[in-house]
Amino acid sequence: MATIKELSRKPELLTGGHRLCAGCGASIAVRQVLLGANDQVIAGSATGCLEVSTTPYPFSAWKIPFIHNAFENSAATMSGVEAAYQSLVRRGKIEKKMKFVAFGGDGGTYDIGLQSLSGAMERGHDMVYVCYDNGAYMNTGIQRSGSTPFGAATTTSPAGKVRPGKPQQRKDLTQIMAAHDIPYVAQASISHWKDLVKKAEKAFSVDGPAFINVMAPCPRGWRTPNEMTIEISKIAVQTGFWPLYEVEDGEWKLNFKPKELKPITDFLKPQGRFRHLFKPGNEHLLETAQAEIDKNWSRLKKRCGVE
């Protein structure tokens, strides 16, 4: 992998001046992913914060060819671009080596776009799919998604008198993608940039489909200070809420192994969306959240052959 000095000399493919909020994790995720590309990249995005904020007509923050189609079909759209590339290369109309990356938020990936993603991965297109996961539909005003954590208050799972935020646990998308048995699957966080850039590099270099799920906090939806984005991403990893791992040709590997996980309350406490969980009488909810983390962590360690 390139050194930080070399990375710093790489051209920015997503330029500044876009309209994502200060402290938004999405653009950080995109820029780190694009640092892992060593060939010409063609990018696309699902509808969501990333797309609306980077392409307000007549402007575009993308310094590479970019396509937005709709909300649920970033993967299908990019599979068409990749197929066109294969065809035009075969017919001698294009020579340059190109790589393809589709971005989607958690809503556009875990929920409405899951079929399109699954289809594209199953067909084996030579493309990378990156989910920037901020745990809710942020663009439309913080509604719950399949990725929203247990107990989080969102505008469609508010913390009320009888319902304490989202009643369900998160869907584990990264493992669903691993079950597709594609060449490369990884989970990464913007707080661990070296790990993320390395994973992106691997994803771009494999022959066939690759998937990366990136922790990309949203200060608006999480009710955290703008300057806390990287720190809270790091805590997500340290508490085991967001383990860093990769599945390379079926081999599971844990990339970050703390001796002991920090308590999940370290992750929940700084976030306004979990404030109600800390009210007296809700201790059992915190216990449920911790139990879920513990269960998932021990299962993941087993899969990765770590004791």
Partner: protein
């Protein structure tokens, strides 16, 4: 059969096989499609061409029609020549993507084999699927026969990709009636088709010039959205001339001359039927029989439904005394089927105009025999004679009470 301008082969095959053959001859860069009755045999036949190396198209076996159109949009924006095909529920599932394809001005060609929309679920012909998509900014061509379905497919590529059009085209033929019946028709040489459609090189694309990167599908707020929609209107209105230019060029090659519509025995007619698709054949048969009995009846068979040739239709029909418009789809909650409503509207400002009546027929594959056409003509004659006043309500032909 008209005099042929180039060597052609007479074949006996189904409409769907003819469409697959046209696709083979076009050999598009990318096809993304999903099977659905009655379109299925097109994608199966094309899969055979791919499997046997007859074409070198990149064929994407998508997991749904939504993804079919999404992948077509990606591939077309990438710079490829792209085709697909669907019917009914498949088209309905694509709906969101249809207006994105046209607003991005992507020349995707889609054969739509007309089938009734659910529910109840049905697999047979009516036009409710493509008529439901009539306002999506696509050019709509209708075929009466397998010959026309084959010919329209080839012309659709040239129309769609023309630099002054750059719009997607839907090419329709009737499910089962045309798609599955074996018909005798003429096909061009592969080389002639290849030459006719030519090479495709878009002005803007994702792949051809990445050093001057383009952003497709940006977010356009009130300050810009409206003008983009205006551009779409200008483009589709203007495409009428290109449709005819390509149609005339095709006639030079094939000897088969089509128009925006066909006028059959309309010159001296008092009454006429407006219809599209395979029922035009039955209508022609009935007209000949009734002409023999002295009824001055003719037909206007619509080929180009979008852009709707309102001016030309008004000119062709204004001097008639009564016109019956037959729709193989119902637009419930309003005056009648879409062809009826639009034809009537097209004539409204004419100084002279016929009495008009709307008919719905053949929904969900209900058989439409000569008797139903005779009924329509009989109704129109009564209106002309003053025995009946024109009906305000649409008449449902062949429905059980």
């Amino acid at each position: 059969m008209a005099k042929t301008a180039t060597k052609q082969k007479i074949v006996a095959m189904t409409g769907n096989a003819g469409c697959a053959l046209a696709m083979k001859q076009i050999n598009p860069d990318v096809v993304a499609a999903y099977p659905i009755t009655p379109q299925t045999t097109i994608v199966e036949e094309f899969a055979n061409y791919v499997a046997n190396g007859v074409v070198d198209t990149e064929y994407i076996n998508v997991e749904s029609e939504h993804s079919a159109m999404s992948a077509c949009i990606g591939a077309s924006a990438a710079g490829a020549r792209v085709m697909t095909s669907t019917s009914s529920q498949g088209l309905a599932l694509m709906w969101e993507e249809l207006s994105i394809a046209s607003s991005l001005r992507l020349p995707i060609v889609m054969q739509t084999v007309n089938r009734a929309l659910s529910g109840p679920i049905n697999i047979h012909c009516d036009h409710s699927d493509s008529m439901g998509a009539r306002d999506m900014g696509w050019i709509h061509l209708f075929a009466e026969t397998a010959q026309e379905a084959y010919d329209n497919t080839i012309m659709a590529i040239k129309i769609a990709e023309h630099k002054d059009v750059r719009l997607p085209v839907m090419s329709m033929h009737d499910g089962f009636i045309t798609s599955h019946a074996i018909d005798r028709f003429e096909v061009l040489d592969d080389a002639d088709v290849k030459k006719f459609v030519g090479d495709y090189m878009p002005k803007h694309s994702l792949l051809y010039n990445p050093n001057e990167p383009v952003t497709f599908g940006p977010f356009a707020m009130p300050a810009f959205y409206y003008e983009q929609r205006k551009q779409l209107r200008v483009a589709i209105d203007g495409s009428k001339d290109i449709v005819m230019k390509v149609t005339d060029d095709f006639a030079k090659l094939s000897g088969r001359q089509y128009g925006l519509f066909e006028e059959y025995r309309l010159d001296d007619a008092d009454v006429a039927i407006v219809v599209l698709g395979s029922t035009a054949g039955t209508t022609r048969y009935v007209i000949d029989a009734m002409r023999a009995q002295g009824v001055k009846v003719g037909m206007l068979k619509l080929r180009v439904f979008r852009p709707f040739p309102a001016e030309e239709i008004a000119q062709a029909l204004s001097k008639l005394k009564a016109v019956g418009v037959m729709d193989r789809s119902d637009t419930v909650g309003t005056l009648g089927g879409p062809v009826y409503v639009e034809t009537k509207a097209a004539l409204y400002n004419s100084k002279q105009r016929p009495a008009m009546q709307g008919y719905v027929y053949g929904l969900g594959g209900r058989d439409t025999g000569p008797d139903q056409i005779e009924t329509v003509i009989g109704d129109l004659v009564k209106v002309v004679k003053g025995e009946e006043s024109p009906r305000e309500a649409v008449t449902l032909l062949g429905v059980k009470e």
